[in-house]
Symmetry: C2
Subunit: 499 residues, 2 copies
């Protein structure tokens, strides 16, 4: 491959152009590697594949830090090759999930906004090598990121060596979409000056000392984007309940007519909820979130949304085509920030973000499990949900009321793992209905959640547990019978049904 001077603008770096295999040889056993990538967007592909290949012939273990989940060429290939010793902060790949749940990989499940500052504070050890996918390298060494920013700025800042995958499949027109701001460490940190969703506060590139750039690998391998399922009946109902709730908040003066900036988790339910807004009466919407999915393009296209700020563009295959085709339009509407900023409590609280995230299960008192199947097996990780819901204007958790064809109730007496506590959950919504928990005590919450959100097949059993627990505990603050609290999960493990 020949590299254009538009992509590699610092001529002396031509001497650093090498094959993926050569670049991978800079990575030694025991090293900690920080990479770009947030969802299957903007992650390095060639060097990880070469590293996985190298591991066929030698003992090689690394700690792998990323922005969030990444594509199979990175998480999948390295997990299958047995290269990953420790992984943080998030993943969604089958191969790595299996290794995490069989004791082969130590996974640290950490808030996405905590990770970058912990790296900079020195809490997570030294970053030996950063591997960053880029659209271009500037004359000053500055790196223009691809479709995500994630933790790339802090990895570049803290790494001893930087390997760049210069990816020609990522259009040069991405330049100008990023807004890179790196906070100082305490006691020197200043207010992050974002006061509106559309405010830019940084540079369009990641500053990098050219001396640090140890390798440049040329590629045109595209992001392995994932398909989106069509909107199903359950997601549609969840979306309808939510929009009705938001309309009611506006009616009562608790939200402005344009709402406040929206955050949405990733996946089909989240996408369906956003898509529902296309047909809603709301105008002038803003998006302050992590991941920009297809439905955000819909909202921008129809003019109902004015700006979308995130740390990653993660469309479907069709969405990616559409994004590339209209990139000049989207570049004026989309801002990609480091996850330290997209997920920052300071900004989320200031802007008053409405946070919508999905749950694995929710208990009758409003505790949420976002991560663990039956209390032990890691699904994906907490991701950014904690960053957002804890600081949101309104925090909302959505889940279908049942899973596994009705064998599992997603509303349970006690969740088998807690990621979000009763203190942080304002609204619970399923296809059955919406429970508004603001200002309610645990006993009031239980009645609201059971009646509004539980599936009719489980409602009576939940109410029976609740009433029995009141008697058993003498009407204690949070009624429970510890002998029975987790029995639904135990039943499922033994009999394949919760009740």
């Amino acid at each position: 491959m020949i590299v254009s001077s538009e992509r590699l603008r610092l001529k002396k770096l031509e001497s650093k152009i090498m094959t993926a295999e050569e670049a991978a040889s800079l990575i030694e056993d025991g090293m900690t590697v920080g990479t770009s990538g947030f969802t299957p967007s903007g992650y390095p592909k060639e060097v990880p594949l070469a590293l996985a290949k190298r591991a066929e012939k030698e003992n090689l273990k690394i700690n792998l830090y990323t922005g969030a989940s990444v594509g199979d060429e990175l998480d999948g290939a390295l997990a299958r090759a047995g290269v990953i010793a420790k992984r943080m902060p998030y993943q969604t790949n089958d191969s790595i999930r299996n290794s995490i749940n069989s004791g082969k990989i130590e996974f640290v499940d950490i808030h996405l906004s905590h990770m970058p500052q912990m790296v900079r504070y020195g809490f997570l050890g030294k970053i030996d090598v950063a591997i960053i996918e880029a659209v271009a390298i500037r004359k000053d060494g500055g790196i223009v990121p691809a479709t995500s920013v994630g933790n790339s700025p802090v990895f570049v800042q803290m790494a001893e060596k930087v390997i760049i995958e210069l990816n020609e499949s990522q259009p040069l027109e991405l330049e100008g979409m990023h807004d890179i701001y790196i906070p100082k460490n305490p006691p020197y940190r200043k207010p992050i000056p974002i006061t509106r969703t559309d405010k830019r506060i940084g540079t369009t590139y990641i500053p990098c000392d050219p001396q640090k750039i140890a390798a440049v690998v040329l590629t045109n391998r595209r992001d392995s984007v994932r398909p989106l399922a069509p909107v199903d009946e359950t997601s549609k109902k969840i979306s309808e309940h939510l929009i009705e709730f938001l309309e009611n908040e506006v009616k009562h003066g608790r939200l402005p007519k344009t709402l406040l900036p929206l955050q949405s988790g990733v996946g089909n339910i989240a996408n369906a909820v956003l898509r529902g807004l296309v047909d809603s009466p709301f105008e002038g919407l803003e998006f302050y979130s992590e991941v920009i999915q297809d439905a955000v393009f819909d909202l921008l296209d129809c003019g109902k949304m004015t700006v979308a700020s995130g740390t990653s563009v993660t469309p479907s295959e069709e969405g990616l085509e559409r994004f590339y085709k209209n990139i000049d339009f989207y570049r004026n509407k989309i801002i990609l920030r480091p996850q330290e900023i997209s997920n920052n409590p300071e900004v989320i609280r200031r802007l008053g973000v409405i946070a919508m995230n999905t749950a694995i299960e929710i208990d009758i008192y409003g505790h949420v499990n976002s991560t663990h199947i039956m209390g032990t097996k890691m699904m994906n990780g907490i991701g950014g949900s904690g960053d957002f819901i804890r600081n949101a204007y309104i925090s909302i958790f959505a889940t279908p009321s049942t899973a596994k064809n009705g064998a599992i109730s997603c509303i349970v007496p006690m969740v088998s793992h807690v990621d979000h506590t009763e203190h942080d959950v304002m609204v619970v919504v399923t296809e059955q209905g919406l429970a508004d928990l603001r200002g309610l005590s645990p006993k009031e919450r239980a009645k609201e959640i059971i009646q509004k959100c539980a599936h009719p097949d489980y409602r009576d059993a939940l109410m029976e547990y609740y009433k029995k627990a009141i008697d058993f505990s003498g009407s204690a603050h949070t009624p429970h019978i510890l002998e029975e609290a987790l029995s639904w999960h135990i039943n499922y493990s033994k009999k394949g049904r919760m009740i």
Copy 2:
């Protein structure tokens, strides 16, 4: 009583001077009342006592919102009189605790920084009456608070009527110690301009439209301060482990020599930890916390601490004498802010606060229960612990390794209630030792916590559970056996011993 013109500076309010009974008659059945007070400091006393008396003769229920816990004249008297329907956000009083745990009072256990903005957003209903203890009322109606600020600014802002208890036992010299700043609601909120612990950003009084002031009640009843226990051996050891840890962080360049601003929970362990710093090598310390206890006076007196910012001064009886006696010295070193600011995530994260809080129990994976005895009975509430630990530079939880003369292990297989999740807990410390959990996976955390923090009497049983859970779960991400996870609590309830 005759009021001096130094205390009541707006002459026309003399017509509003009335007895506590008359003022209490402004409060009607079904109303929501917001009061000053944060710990037994600066809370109204006369009107609540009059209200409790009135309830002997008539049906009277109110919702009671405060800053945090308050003195017995308010929480105790009203709980015993059966006046409280709903209570938030925190309490520590025996009478009210009993009512909460027997179904007589609905208690909403909420983060202390969330409460004020939720009031202003209209999420918690209308505030009918605010009762505020004050040192003085200014000519413009501005209220000079007493020994705490808490939620008074937002209650005054949002209440229909304001009742002021003008308390002559609170010295006029308190004026100038407060720094009142009320953030705007989104989308109009600006950065909170605190960039250093000692920075003042607001007024020395709570702005108040004089038209709103419906009653002025004169009193000289003092705060019912609580005694502090002498520092015991357990607390001393916890303090030593912590100081050793902090010294090591400085040595490795992860903390500056003057540390970063400290936050400390309330109570004897917290006070002992702070007292330990008096004999430590650290200088130039700062305190950015909620409650200013006796040990903070020690640190200010000996010159090791330069500034203390909180929302409440809560000394012992001796401490209060000392505080009053040297108030001119302390007024230059102490800043009292609204809890919306003292506990604000934005400021805590920016300053890099080192947060030290106490736990009821902690499990082998690092989840913390701060509120519930055996999973059902409310102890006090989450208070500000979540505000601080979630945004801290380093989050630390301290607990003795055992309770009830060894019958209870405070390190358990699974906590019976989760207030702080694994994602948020960096350090666990008991008198046995300190576990540094940063960057560790659940399995790594379990070994660290069991070996360093558990009491020797429970260490083997915990390790046995952990190993059995690994086998049982096929080495899943978080090994558990749901049938046994809560068995220690069940044992205690049945046999009076956890194992």
